[in-house]
């Protein structure tokens, strides 16, 4: 993502010291730990106009949970600012960088795996339909992969069972590559897809970086 951003001449940086947005602790009910993480985020990203995350769940943390957690605290204003500044890579590309500047080429069938927290589905689909040489698999199966809310850690058997219909759907779609908008889904599904001999899964940011041939024009 950083590489592609640089090729698009976007002033991008990866602030050092990043670890976790804290959603995992918040979902597990460890509110104090989540608050520690939240405060760290604010400090890390306070100087930036746009905040791009590759996980739609983290984005929900920034957009919804952070302002709520820090309501009435001195950091409330900053949390509210970050909530509006947070966006997805795909959405940012479509809305600000200019979709026509990214030319991707992929020979084969592409499947899109919808994520539960995906607020950037339209943007991802716009990017994918524009890919040259690719055929997009219609009507993806909409179901949670089972990774979220620490389920894959708390009840791995259940989380694995939840992937069953997804794995068969992706296998039957005869896709050559599965693209999704959340890192969590990738982590959870990648080894299982490999085990059943289905197509590999990549994040949209990874896909764009790998298959983007040329970058047109200058920055807007």
């Amino acid at each position: 993502m950083i590489n592609l951003a640089k090729r698009l001449s976007l002033p991008v940086s990866l602030p050092p010291g990043q670890t976790c947005c804290g959603l995992t602790a918040l979902q597990a009910g460890h509110s104090a730990a989540a608050l520690t993480a939240a405060r760290l985020q604010l400090r890390l990203f306070s100087g930036y106009d746009v905040l791009i995350t590759t996980s739609s769940a983290c984005r929900r943390m920034f957009r919804e949970h952070l302002p709520r957690l820090l309501r009435g605290q001195p950091e409330a204003e900053e949390a509210a600012r970050l909530a509006t500044a947070c966006t997805s890579w795909a959405k940012f590309l479509v809305e600000h960088a200019g979709i026509e500047r990214v030319c991707c080429r992929f020979e084969g069938r592409l499947a899109y795996f919808p994520t539960c927290h995906g607020d950037d589905e339209d943007a991802i689909l716009q990017l994918l339909t524009k890919v040259e040489g690719a055929e997009l698999v219609a009507e993806p199966l909409r179901q949670c992969c089972g990774y979220g809310n620490n389920l894959s850690w708390r009840h791995p058997q259940l989380a694995h069972a939840m992937t069953t219909p997804i794995l068969s759907d992706l296998r039957l779609s005869h896709a050559d590559l599965v693209v999704t908008g959340d890192e969590g889904c990738c982590i959870h599904l990648a080894p299982l897809l490999e085990r059943v001999g289905a197509a590999p899964i990549v994040h949209i940011a990874e896909f764009l970086a790998d298959y983007c041939g040329e970058v047109n024009g200058g920055p807007r």
Binding site: T19, L26, Q27, S31, L40, C116, Y147, N150, Q157, L158
Partner: protein, 421 residues
Amino acid sequence: MDPADRYTRQALAGLELGPGRAAALAWAETPDARRLRRAAGRARQKVLDHLGAYLQQLEQSASQNDVQVLWADGAQDANRLVVQILHDTRSKAVLRNHSLLLNEIALDAAVEHNGVRITALHPGAHLLQLARERPSHPVWPAAHMRVSQVSRTLEQAWHIPPSVNPAHLSATLRAPLRRSLLSTYTVILGLNFAVAESGQMVCLDNDGHNPSLTALARHLICLLSIEQVVADRADLGLLIRAFALGAYGRSMPGYVTCIDRPTPAGVDGPRTVHLILVDNGRSDLMAAGFGEALRCIHCGACHNVCPLFRQVGPEGYAPSVYTGPIGSVINPLLLRPGLGEQQSYLSTDCRACRPVCPVDIDLPALLQRLRGQVTPRAASHRERFVFWVWQRLLRYPRLFFPAMRLAHRLRERTPVSSTDS
């Protein structure tokens, strides 16, 4: 926690293709869907906000209709009242409808313990009586059973030859129910709603077992979970519509059964009508700040779309009869402390249940808040330690990521049963 067996999982997956799909289509065709949901949610919340007053009004209007109103604090109180009425009416056999409230208070066991035979007229509920299982779904109680399991249940209970023909099994199951309908005069009903303004008591269903029950009953014992009181007829109309859309994907349920009052001699209908108002932990649940969950009208819409429910199956929510996303919210609060707490973690925060709720309950937010309360008292030492370390490592990316990878690898090494895809 282990997933349910693959038959249960396959059977429950059918919920999404059947009622789930029907509901989605019906909502899409409802022009005022958004407003209807909001209005239904408000109608429920209004009652919950002033529950005491509405219950008093209900008691008054029902009493004016010559309905005898009784109050039950817990399940045992409710059962004791029912048994007393059965004794007074010299009933040796009773019929009941399908209602989760009756399952919740374990009415069958209490009634049978006192030598009275109790039969559920709803085929699915009756099947569960024979199989001695808990319902898995509020509207389709035997949704988790496949044809082979139905056949096996009937084979074991009645020694009839096995069959793979659903129509045949259904007919076999219904025949004795019809006979008992004609010979039983006492009926116990778990109500969907009762109207505070008029004292009207309402049951909803799609197979007609409720109107059959009320048509022939001499003595009617109605049980209402206290939160299911409805302010007036306008709200009742709204909620019936919301229920039908959520449960069946239709704008009206197949049957709406209304009971007003006992009928005088010479007219068909029940001679005596009792109304038992059951609390059984609802007041405590509201006091704990989770009243929003009690808006639930038990239509099963969230069950039909929950990808986790269909993997866990009903056993994941034991010993409660409330399953699915709504079960994970109310069970930790309704069950004895320590029994249902782990159920609040039965969620992937995928939010599939959020848009389908006809009474606009924010189940993901409620679950999130509930876990915030459950974790401090119920988390294991191991989990506390993990998050303690996690919190300490947040400032040190060089340690954080290797530690996370290590934790991931350790977790991967725990044996996971193969998924049958």
